[in-house]
Amino acid sequence: MKWITARRRHPLAGYAVVILALALFGVGYAALAPTSDQAQAQTLAAEAPSPDDVDIAEGKTVFDQTCASCHGLDGSGSDTGPDLREVGSAAIDFQVSTGRMPSVNPDVQMPRRDMVMSEQDLDHLIAYYNAEIRDGESGADVPYGIPGSAPQPEDFEPNRADYDSEEAFDEAEEEAHTEYEAALAEYEAAYDEYIEGADDTEMGMQLYLTNCAHCHGWSGGGGALTDGRWAPEIHEATPREIYEAMVTGPGAMPMFNDMVITSDEKQELISYVKTLQAEPNAGGIFDLERVGQVAEGFISWTIGLALIVACAIWITAKQRAHD
């Protein structure tokens, strides 16, 4: 402590404190900020759930408990939530599977987060929506043919309470593990088939750059809109979520239906977005979300130049006769 006391009046003490604080914030943010590994939640089967697996009554319970307070008991909307009758099931799947709904605060734009309800509940909810709330065939259906997120092991884990003996439980656990591996392999095959099935990523790139990149950034890092809204980054989005976002236009996003951008073209586009995600990242503490050259240049000018000036001040600072 004596060391600090002796130097706190040093002419460079101020600079040192600022630089230390900046470094602490930077490193701290990088350490605490959520990374893509932590944000994976849902499992969606490759086919639509069969009517036998879903329970419309259960879906009604979920809707009444989690959605109705804003969207109304009949889904017709209120001051705090929009009318759901014409949005289509793809919108329901998108909003719930990306964790944006149920919203914690209807006044602000919801960020992406882990899905709040279970996969099963979402299926029930969509079945209830289709049966009771949806206005005929309006809106887009959930594109079940397009891969969602990878299956998660915890969705397969057996419940200890269902088993009498330790052996039976162990056996079930082993079985669940095999099941999970199989589901994962199946998912990965479907995913690869979808992504590699795109043969004209050049066109996908054109479509992305002319229709998406303005808001979501050329690297998919997102960007600002008006009145505090923002276009989210799309690095974590699954192919199905990207597809659903295009056909339903969540929030302020315009719609790109299958007539304007056909489903084949969407496949090219999604494949291009996936190549963006896979692009090597130089890493470092500040990758600046790879927002682009202008921002990078700005940062290097301001921060880099400030550091150089600080060095120059240090080297040439007048020495006092007694330090």
Binding site: P254, N281, I315, A321
Partner: protein, 382 residues
């Protein structure tokens, strides 16, 4: 009073400025004790040399040494990083993989930075804590030369000029001037390359009555009904001058358009629920045509090029019907004739009159009413 230790021409420091406050009396006392004038070996007199206390010098030495060791490690690290990614058996360099190349660059750059910064920082610590500092005063030189010197130089110069013959040999002098003239004119003449004047090229695009449009990036022509079930749809589109060429519904995808033509003619097709259109759309723009007459089934077409400096303005918010330009946040209201609601843009995005042909394809029914793209000095003149 200065710290400047490079001031060698006044090493003797003949005069001290009277009344200079001696802030460092204690240290000078130390210096005087440790090194008397007789024993003093430094370049400046002992009275002007302020050595640091021995304790500070020792600490400075240690800190400088730490920096130099870091710099050494950085330098070694640079050499190591260089050899860290050898070519594989086939002779392909490992850095051919972009991810490896990124790591390699990070390591090379990082270690070199550490090495150079370490040396610099160590030397700074050395200069500040180990080297003594000097308090040397030196009066300013009289800068202008004396009248005498000036006069004698002028006379000297003129005598030389006379002798060289430039004043006595007019033929040579004049031809030399003639030789230099065209060179002097050349930079002015080269300015011609900024011309010729563009005429009305900036005001016209290839859009013409009856021309279909394709989704930018594809060769698929757009029908009005394509946007039927997207009540808030948007798409970026290009003209399709190739027309009905190949397969039905497919144009040439704008492949035959030059970059200039594309840049001028690219449009944003936006479907807006008709109830959302504002009264501004009823204004007459050309003859008895209102802006609303130029839409079709709620679909409106605006130039995608911002009227400020020409960035592609295509951040469209379907909830507010605002079009934003990502460069300088110019904001246009798509439901109100693309009127500027915010930002540096000075006029609305030009609206393209559209309709459908007998097969249901969206067509332009004319060119933009005014010049698309960044506003220029006489954009409004015909």
């Amino acid at each position: 009073m200065t710290d400047n230790s490079n001031d060698k021409n006044r090493a003797e420091g003949p005069e001290r400025v009277l009344g200079t406050p001696s802030e460092s009396s204690e240290e000078r006392a130390v210096a005087a004790v440790s090194a008397t004038d007789a024993a003093h070996e430094g370049p400046y007199p002992a009275s002007e040399t302020h050595a640091h206390p021995e304790e500070q010098q020792r600490r400075g030495e240690r800190i400088a040494a730490v920096w130099f060791v870091l710099a050494f490690l950085g330098g070694v690290g640079f050499l190591v990083s260089y050899f860290l990614f050898p070519p594989n058996a086939q002779g392909t360099p490992a850095i051919a993989d972009p991810q490896i190349a990124q790591y390699s660059n990070m390591l090379l750059g990082g270690s070199l930075t550490l090495a150079m910064f370490g040396i610099g920082a160590g030397m700074t610590v050395w200069a500040r804590n180990v080297m003594p500092h000097y308090e040397v005063s030196s009066p300013y030189d009289e800068l202008p030369s004396s009248e005498e010197e000036k006069g004698s130089f002028g006379a000297f110069f003129m005598r030389g000029a006379d002798e060289s013959g430039i004043t006595k040999r007019p033929l040579m002098r004049r031809t030399l001037i003639a030789a230099m003239l065209p060179l002097g004119l050349a930079p002015i003449v080269l300015l011609r390359d900024t011309g010729p004047l563009p005429g009305d090229k900036l005001k016209n695009t290839i859009w013409a009555d009856g021309m279909r449009m394709v989704v930018e990036g594809t060769d698929r022509q757009i029908k009005a009904e394509d946007l039927e079930n997207a009540p808030n749809g948007m798409i970026s589109a290009l003209p399709d001058p190739g027309g009905h060429g190949g397969e039905e519904g497919h144009g040439d995808g704008g492949h035959h358009l030059s970059l200039n033509e594309k840049a001028k003619s690219v449009i944003l097709l936006i479907k807006i629920p008709e109830a959302d259109y504002k009264p501004g759309m009823n204004e007459n723009v050309e003859g008895d045509q209102s802006r609303l007459n130029w839409t079709y089934d709620g679909i409106v077409a605006y130039s995608k090029i911002c009227t400020h400096v020409g960035c592609p303005a295509a951040l469209y918010e379907r909830t507010t019907h605002r079009i934003l330009c990502p460069c300088h946040q110019s904001t246009f209201d798509a439901a109100d004739g693309a009127k500027v609601v915010f930002g540096p843009a000075h006029r609305p995005l030009p609206q393209l009159p559209i309709g459908v042909d007998d097969e249901g394809y969206l067509i332009a029914t004319g060119d933009f009413p005014e010049a698309p793209g960044p506003t220029f000095w006489d954009y409004a003149k015909d």
